[in-house]
């Protein structure tokens, strides 16, 4: 049985791309076709295996409560043993399918997009590494494995963002991504260490049993701290406020990379992590609240920035941050189902959006500014269609995929607390507005004479088609097939659509789109005038609330300043003491040397002076001392 085989060999899913990475990286790099072929073949195999795993989950009735687990020892020393393994439950299966599917699409797309690039082989090597890392993360059986692959994901994203390493901006963006996520990883690592110290194990299954018992016994104080530390990791990786700054810059990488990593899959690792260890968060109301508020603030905040951005990929990047905020919000209000559902649909439509944007950029020879585009709907009909589907999906217009998942989140939020719900709803309106703005500016209006766009090649259109279909049906189909029965935490909570909430959000989205049409489609309302009317707000939004500048200052002035100060200390105090001692000795040598005047009678004076001292010491002082001691 294939699904049985797939389940038993699930470890092959990350391993295959890893092997591909090694092979391509070491030997095949120079042969583009072979590289791409190998990477694609491996991706297809991984996708098939992932589907097999999915099938096995359904067929064998693997549930969240009864996952399928394999473990092998990795490191075993006295006092600490770490395993690697496979942990399959419905959430994992869903992630496996999504990741392999999207990555497969991106790899096909890249055949066309990256054609002729000198680093073609290298690109596929990196992609394979990324896929391997991400899949390894997904099937993690314990925290350490998760952390290992978490970091590897970070590495591959570093490599891919910096793919155009000759561009200063790309190089800096890569660095920024790595370091920003590292700050989050610091917290994650601390959290992991706490867990290791507290429970002596990092295994998800074992922790799932141990933590509730611990909470019963010792309360939640320390564990809340642990959970918040762990949450720092997702904040970094999933671009949550305030560590979101790397994500927009990450768009320096090739567009397929943006699609794959910084939209659809990698950034959701944080969300996935929280979902995976929800057994921990679930018991800690404070931690949950933090997650929820972080998510909500991020969602709103990123959307408000996206309103004014000009670069197409940047707008999409902020929308990603915003949507990730949604997912976090969902988790924070306790709905793993909604979060995961949105994660899946978002993967489809965001990949679609990015790939379509990539097609546009590709067609316009790396033009990125949306206001330099315009009227592309005639020349690029496929791309236009794909983009439209994507925009409608993200805006939450029924029956596109986004509608269903977003609705579940809004519902969960509404049930939890009304401020959160309000923020979510407003954000959804903003989302619809800026996405529509993007669509109208790029595809409508007059054509720009300088542009000579052409439709994307077939290899790029196929993924657009596939993802487009998924963006349309990806919400409705799972919804009808009771997604929430499988992907959940705790008992399944199958609630139907709440028509009030759905209606509100849909109406708001349509209104926003209409407003966008007025401003950017037909030009009835001047966007400039609006910006001029609220200069502070506009500038705040356009400059991304100056958070980048803050970090820049922290890094350059504070950290660099401390570094320089310490270096000064090192050079002039610590080393100064060392050199000073050395110099002092030499000076002393010079001084003592001068005693040696060459005057024989001065030598005599010193000589007899010393004799006098010795004699006086022995004859007078010492007997007195000894007498004193004795008596």
């Amino acid at each position: 049985m294939f699904h049985e085989y797939a389940l038993q060999h699930a470890w092959l899913i990350p391993l295959l791309p890893a092997i591909a990475f090694v092979l391509i990286g070491l030997w095949l790099r120079r042969v583009p076709l072979l590289s791409a072929g190998l990477a694609l073949a491996v991706s297809i195999a991984a996708f098939l295996l992932a589907c097999g795993v999915g099938q096995a989950v359904i067929a064998q009735g693997i549930t969240v409560e009864q996952p399928f687990i394999q473990r092998v020892p990795w490191v075993a020393i006295s006092g600490l043993s770490l395993d690697m393994g496979v942990f399959i439950d419905p959430i994992t299966a869903m992630m496996l399918v999504v990741v392999t599917l999207v990555s497969l699409m991106v790899q096909i797309y890249s055949l066309g997009y990256m054609q002729g690039d000198p680093g073609f082989g290298r690109f596929y090597a990196y992609l394979s590494l990324f896929v391997a890392a991400m899949l390894g993360l997904v099937i993690s059986v314990n925290f350490i494995q998760l952390f290992v692959f978490w970091e590897l994901v970070g590495l591959s994203s570093y490599l891919l963002i910096g793919y155009y390493f000759y561009k200063i901006s790309a190089r800096e963006a890569a660095k920024k991504a790595f370091i920003t996520t590292r700050i989050g990883d610091f917290g994650l690592l601390l959290g992991i260490l706490f867990l290791q110290i507290l429970f002596g194990t990092l295994d998800f299954a074992q922790l799932g049993l141990a933590i509730p018992a611990y909470v019963q016994q010792s309360g939640t104080g320390l564990l809340t701290l642990v959970a918040l530390l762990i949450f720092l990791g997702p904040i970094g990786k999933s671009g949550q406020f305030p560590l979101h700054v790397w994500l927009p810059d990450a768009m320096e990488g090739p567009t397929p990379v943006s699609a794959l990593i910084h939209a659809a899959t990698m950034v959701v690792a944080g969300v996935y992590l929280v979902a995976r260890v929800f057994f921990l968060f679930d018991l800690l109301p404070v931690a949950l609240q933090t997650v929820a508020w972080t998510g909500a603030i991020t969602a709103f905040f990123a959307a408000s920035i996206a309103l004014t951005q000009r670069e197409i990929k940047r707008i999409l990047a902020y929308s990603t941050i915003s949507q990730l905020g949604y997912m976090m919000l969902a988790l924070g209000v306790g709905s793993v189902t909604a979060s995961m559902f949105h994660l899946m649909t978002h993967a489809f439509f965001k990949a679609l959006l990015f790939l379509a944007a990539g097609a546009v950029i590709h067609a316009l020879h790396d033009q990125n500014d949306i206001f330099a585009m315009g009227g592309l709907r005639h020349k690029m009909p496929v791309t236009f269609a794909a983009m439209t589907v994507g925009v409608l999906a993200i805006a939450g217009i029924p029956p596109f995929a986004g509608f269903f998942s977003k609705d579940e989140i809004l519902l969960a939020a509404a049930q939890a607390s009304w401020p959160l719900y309000l923020m979510a709803v407003v954000t959804s309106g903003l989302t619809a507005f800026y996405m529509a703005r993007l669509l109208f500016v790029v595809f409508f209006g007059p054509e720009k004479p300088d542009n000579h766009p052409h439709e994307a090649p077939l290899s790029m259109c196929i993924p657009l088609g596939v993802l487009g279909v998924l963006a349309i049906v990806g919400g409705f189909v799972p919804y009808t097939y009771h997604f929430g029965d499988w992907v959940r935490f705790g008992p399944a909570s199958h609630s139907g659509l709440d028509w009030a909430i759905a209606g509100t959000s849909t109406a708001l989205a349509l209104l926003s789109i209409g407003l966008a049409w007025l401003m950017y489609g037909s030009g009835r309302v001047s966007a400039e005038r609006l910006a001029w009317r609220f200069p502070g707000l506009y500038r705040l939004s356009y400059h991304k609330y100056y958070i980048d500048e803050l970090y820049q200052w922290l890094n350059q002035t504070v950290v660099g300043g401390i570094g320089r100060a310490l270096y000064w200390l090192d050079l002039y105090v610590i080393d100064g003491i060392v050199n000073g001692l050395g110099k002092l000795t030499l000076r002393l040598g010079d001084g003592l040397r001068k005693i040696q005047t060459g005057q024989v009678q001065q030598y005599g004076l010193v000589l007899f002076g010393a004799i006098l001292l010795v004699a006086a010491w022995l004859v007078w002082i010492e007997p007195a001392l000894m007498g004193g001691v004795l008596s």
């Binding site: 001068k594 040696q596 060459g598 005057q599 024989v600 009678q601 005599g604």
Partner: protein
């Protein structure tokens, strides 16, 4: 009654006088003379001890004989060196001998 202490006192005085000369006379020949004074002081000590401490053994007398011999040798060699220095440097002043220093 003149006893050991008296002789030792004379010896002491002779020793420090010689020493003073050794340290202050510029002429090397004078310095050599002062060294002889110091050795004589030692001899006074030895003979006095020989008389008052070990009169029957005369160890001090034997010792002083050797001292005299050694002193003679030293002064001989010293004068020969004075000639050499005088030949090389045209001086017999001790404080001019400062080419070797530091």
């Amino acid at each position: 009654m003149i006893g050991l202490v008296h002789y030792l006192t004379v010896g002491t005085l002779l020793f420090v006088i010689g020493l003073y000369g050794l340290l202050t006379k510029r002429n090397i020949v004078a310095v050599l003379m002062c060294i002889e004074l110091m050795l004589n002081a030692v001899n006074i000590n030895l003979i006095a001890f020989s008389r008052f401490i070990t009169p029957e053994l005369a160890t001090g007398q034997v010792f002083s004989l050797f001292t005299i011999t050694v002193a003679a040798c030293e002064v001989t060699v010293g004068l020969a060196l004075v000639f050499r220095v005088y030949h090389d440097r045209d001086t017999v002043l001790a404080d001019r001998l400062n080419w070797l220093r530091w």
